[in-house]
């Protein structure tokens, strides 16, 4: 197929496995976010794609051609590093034109291309600045422009926005996504920030313990997590252990109508998003519990309910929720379609 294909990529350091049999196909023009907790192997996988690490086994293909053995400097991928890796001895223009300079592109053309790239990232007129005199966001843009200087086949970014403050980070996420759509370039971003992944990606790849746990669109990842790891990592969720049969299930605090387990299955874990749980007066729902804590965040209210020993969190907007107090016994209403039965 056209695009990037990873076939059975494994990487271990001194016998310790960092990436474990990863298979992934990324069609051209896709924006991929690799998401996972630190130490899950996402950065190692990105570096392997870039050629900075050699896989212990497996193959990397670009448009059907095997590039596993091609060294990093011959792959022509653009990469933005977590530290940005701007060359401190070169100014902004020289940094951006570095890939052209080492290919002996003439000076005039280098200057022209650098100006184009600076325009692309909204930094016109900054070519002569020393990189030390840039703000965090500007350094970010320079690193992006430099990585795009050669119009690479693949654009790789390792936690590119982690050094920015929250507000700037959100603005950059939108900007990066727009830039990618404009250029149509296949992009892979490594991040541990799930909001960032949801904002930018066509395809979210959730990694844990060196493996791909789930690769799907953001909505599908959120709505249909395949296992407890994904459900818990993407947003917050309630994991409820249930017993049951083909007829319905029983949770510690009561029954949950409408949820059906697969034939032959007697126990399972349900994942229910806090915003899908509605608090109602006792008697209006078969599942009940006692309110143990209420956290008012202004825009939303989180209510912690103890349902037969399992803690369940419900989130509601202040307007939608009836007045309850700590210690009240409440009913928990949840729609069957919002309950996700996880593979155990």
């Amino acid at each position: 197929m056209s695009g990037l294909v990873l076939e059975g990529i494994s990487k271990s350091f001194n016998g310790v496995s960092a990436v474990d049999h990863v298979d992934l196909a990324v069609p051209n023009g896709t924006f991929v976010c690799m998401l996972g907790p630190s130490g899950c192997g996402k950065t190692t996988l990105l570096r392997t794609i870039a050629g900075l690490e050699e896989p212990t086994s497996g193959r990397i293909l670009i448009d059907g051609a095997d590039i596993t053995a091609v060294p990093a400097h011959k792959r022509n991928f653009g990469m933005v590093f977590q530290s940005l890796a701007l060359f401190p001895h070169l100014n902004v223009g020289e940094n951006i034109a570095y890939p052209l300079r080492i290919r002996s592109v003439g000076r005039a053309e280098r200057v022209k291309r650098a100006e184009e790239l600076l325009a692309l990232v909204d930094l016109r007129g900054y070519a002569d600045r020393p990189v030390a005199r840039l703000s965090g966001g500007q350094r970010q843009r320079v690193a992006i422009a430099r990585a795009l200087a050669l119009s690479p086949k693949l654009f790789l970014l390792d936690e590119p926005l982690s050094a920015l403050d929250a507000k700037l980070r959100e603005a950059m996420q939108v900007e990066l996504r727009k830039l990618q759509q404009r250029l149509g370039i296949t992009t892979i971003v490594v991040t541990h920030d799930q909001r960032e992944a949801m904002t930018m990606a066509d395809l979210v790849v959730v990694m844990g313990q060196g493996r791909i746990q789930q690769a799907a669109s953001p909505v599908e990842i959120y709505r249909k997590p395949v296992n407890a790891f994904v459900a818990d990592f993407i947003g917050s969720t309630n994991l409820i252990a249930v017993q049951g049969s083909g007829q319905g299930v029983t949770a510690p605090g009561g029954t949950i109508p409408g949820v059906v387990l697969a034939p032959g299955q007697t126990s399972a874990t349900l994942s229910v998003r806090p915003e899908d749980i509605h608090l109602v007066p006792v008697g209006e729902a078969p599942l009940t519990g006692t309110i143990s804590f209420i956290r008012d965040l202004g825009a939303s209210i989180e209510t912690f309910v103890d349902a037969g020993g399992t803690q369940i969190v419900a989130v509601a907007s202040p307007r939608d929720r009836a007045e309850f107090r700590v210690g009240d016994t409440v009913g928990l209403r949840l729609a069957p379609e919002s309950c996700r039965v996880l593979a155990s």
């Binding site: 870039a50 050629g51 900075l52 060294p71 990093a72 400097h73 011959k74 792959r75 022509n76 991928f77 653009g78 990469m79 590093f81 977590q82 530290s83 890796a85 060359f87 401190p88 001895h89 570095y98 890939p99 300079r101 080492i102 290919r103 430099r146 990585a147 200087a149 050669l150 790789l156």
Partner: protein
């Protein structure tokens, strides 16, 4: 006693102790007369002129500067590829050479001096002027080795990776990234080796003591035959050159960091 007062007293006492002999030497170096008296009687700068005018002093100066320049260059030529290799490659056994490069400087100098004396005698090159260049080059290889190791450690490896993802191979990275970033450390390593070679006595003496007079050898030999004010002038010249060179390093580099402070902010 307050802490500031204590600091001032301590600084003053150490300063006086360190400066006293140099002040006296500076004084006698501008004496109007040839005898050794302090405070100076009369004033004359002709002893400084003698360093350059007197053939014997001038040739000692030339010899010292030539040896120091070549020896420092040799020390850097040995230290640079070694420290680059150690930084670039994972090869723990190659640390042996780093230890070898540090050893001459840690051992008492007389050891290195005697080692070279037996060596040059054994290979039949004893007394050749170039032998002292090699002897000093090896003796002082520690200095550029230390500054360069510090320098390499300060280069973010992501810079090298970034350059390689942009298409630069090893040689190009060395030329366009590593060399420009390491240059200050290269220069200070050279400068350290140069100043110390200029002042070194015993290794030079044992290698070429009877055929080539460097400045320290010349001063020592002159001391045996009695005092001349030119010695004082040369000594002051030494101090001035050292202070100038280290001052330049401090001006253009980060001296506290070079000497082991972690951060240079204060």
């Amino acid at each position: 006693m307050s802490a500031t007062l204590f600091r001032r007293c301590l600084f003053t006492l150490v300063a006086v102790f360190l400066a006293a002999p140099l002040i006296v030497i500076a004084g006698v170096s501008v004496n109007g007369q040839r005898t050794l008296v302090f405070p100076p009687v009369g004033f004359s700068t002709r002893w400084y002129g003698d360093i350059f005018a007197d053939a014997a002093w001038r040739s000692a100066l030339t010899a010292s500067v030539t040896v120091a320049t070549l020896a420092a260059a040799l020390a850097v030529a040995v230290a640079f590829p070694l420290s680059w290799f150690l930084w670039r490659r994972h090869a723990p056994w190659a640390r042996v050479f780093q230890i070898l490069g540090t050893a001459p400087f840690v051992l008492p100098p007389v050891i290195t001096a005697l080692g070279f004396l037996t060596f040059w005698t054994s290979v039949g090159a004893y007394g050749q002027p170039w032998t002292v260049v090699i002897a000093h080059g090896i003796f002082f290889v520690t200095l550029p080795l230390v500054t360069l190791s510090l320098g390499f450690a300060s280069i973010d490896r992501a810079l090298v990776e970034a350059a390689s993802t942009m298409g630069a191979d090893d040689r190009t990275i060395l030329r366009t990234i590593v060399l420009p970033l390491i240059r200050p450390y290269l220069i200070s390593g050279f400068a350290f080796a140069f100043v110390l070679s200029l002042n070194e006595y015993i290794v030079a003496y044992m290698a070429v003591g009877f055929t080539l007079e460097t400045l320290p050898i010349k001063i020592f030999n002159s001391l045996r035959y009695g005092y001349t004010p030119t010695m004082a002038a040369v000594s002051i010249l030494f101090v001035a050159v050292a202070a100038l060179i280290f001052g330049l390093i401090a001006r253009f580099g980060d001296l506290p960091k070079l000497l082991g402070a972690w951060s240079s902010r204060n």
